[in-house]
């Protein structure tokens, strides 16, 4: 059967993707970020993860407001890097897993009553692509398959923090009902504190970020109870996307082992990384 072996929370900052492509891994302004991912990449290699379920959001790359899905997921053979306005990143399309993805869609929609929009063509932007090559090798080819799960955290009304938590629980059920042996990591991307619009542009809150990273490990229910307004006040309006980390945590065993974490806040965004081991599978 399918097993969840790891949960990962990660920021998804586009500037870091550009820095990666420009080979700035050791530049002083970026080194604290990229170095922070290395222990996670090493641990994940040893954990032999087959598929990564990415709970992330699109940023005006694939989805427009003519039809804006609250929850969408990919069931494609592969996912091309999106053109976000500056040309697509120089990365190969990321392999998918149609068989597993359709199983997840069946389980989410029929068993758990999550009405997903199911996508056979989906380009992916920095919401998925920024952390991906920092966690799994992309050369000579991608060392991972992905299932993108896109969440509307852009156009209010948004799904609640609790709804993301329940989505995580439903994903666990889907993974564990898969008949084939498959090792799965679940990721929630986004945040941490940042505000990108209005006079409050540039708002950040390191204390809140660190408290969030601590509580999501041991007391996640406190974060599930918070409203979007709470997230926006504490972390900035765009930090509301932190609720996607709760999707990851909801998919994990109640007790988890903290494997690795990193935090770096040089510019606009508190950039967090959290790697958790599922204790039900160890």
């Amino acid at each position: 059967m399918g097993r969840i072996v790891a949960g990962i929370g990660s920021s998804h900052v586009p500037a870091a993707g550009a820095a990666f492509d420009q080979g700035k891994q050791n530049a002083p302004e970026w080194k604290p970020l990229f170095d922070g991912y290395r222990p996670a990449m090493d641990w994940l290699r040893d954990a032999h993860v087959d598929v990564a379920i990415f709970i992330y959001n699109d940023h005006g790359s694939e989805f427009f407001f003519d039809k804006y899905p609250t929850f969408a997921m990919g069931v494609a053979e592969s996912y091309a890097p999106a053109d976000e306005g500056w040309g697509p990143r120089p990365l190969d399309p990321v392999p998918g897993d149609p068989g597993f993805s359709w199983h997840v869609a069946e389980s989410l929609i029929r068993e758990s009553e999550f009405d997903m929009t199911v996508c056979q063509e989906l380009s992916v932007d920095h919401g998925l692509l920024m952390p991906l090559p920092l966690l799994w090798s992309h050369q000579p080819q991608w060392d991972i398959r992905v299932v993108p799960v896109a969440v509307n955290v852009v156009q209010h009304p948004l799904p609640t923090a609790r709804r993301l938590w329940k989505l995580g629980q439903a994903l666990r059920k889907a993974v564990e009902s898969y008949p084939r042996d498959i090792r799965v990591a679940v990721l929630g991307t986004g945040g941490l504190s940042h505000q990108l619009h209005g006079e409050r542009f540039g708002f950040r809150n390191e204390e809140w970020d660190r408290s969030f990273m601590e509580r999501i490990v041991s007391r996640p229910e406190e974060l599930v109870d918070l409203t979007h307004h709470d997230y926006m006040v504490q972390g900035g309006a765009e930090a509301v996307e932190m609720i996607m980390w709760l999707g990851m945590r909801g998919a994990m065993s109640p007790e988890v082992r903290l494997v690795h974490q990193n935090y770096y806040a040089p510019m606009l965004t508190g950039m967090g990384l959290l790697l958790l081991e599922d204790t039900a599978s160890s």
């Binding site: 053109d83 209010h156 409203t227 307004h229 510019m267 606009l268």
Partner: protein, 120 residues
């Protein structure tokens, strides 16, 4: 706890992108979204007025874009930042340029509030 409707007036300097904003900004955001395509970026660089016209922007929207009045576009125009910042690919304005303008600062003034100015 159930989610109540967000009141965009309750966080200072913040314009929550809700239904009203999204309806108001629909054409503007569609125009920004078009910049995901290389041919539209080239078309804008060739003749910005023609591309704005093609997307049916109002006189107010066109004027605010010409003036780079990012704050008015977000606050009154319903522009979403994830869409609007794609303008940088054709005007050269970075997110930090746009952000400094939101705050009524120069780029240098804004960057002086950051820990690591090069991380962008």
């Amino acid at each position: 706890m159930s989610e109540s409707r967000q009141d965009s007036g309750t966080i200072e300097g913040t314009y929550v992108f809700d239904g009203a904003q999204s309806s108001k900004g629909y054409r503007l955001n569609k125009f920004f979204f078009s910049l995901n395509r290389a041919e539209n970026r080239a078309a804008y660089k060739e003749d910005p007025e023609a591309l704005m016209e093609r997307f049916g922007l109002s006189e107010w929207e066109k004027r605010k874009l010409r003036e780079k009045d990012w704050l008015a576009l977000a606050r009154e125009g319903g522009a979403n930042i994830y869409f609007m910042y794609k303008m940088g690919s054709v005007t050269g304005d970075s997110l930090q340029h746009i952000g400094a303008a939101f705050r009524g600062e120069t780029l240098e003034e804004f960057l002086s509030t950051r820990k690591v100015k090069g991380a962008r």
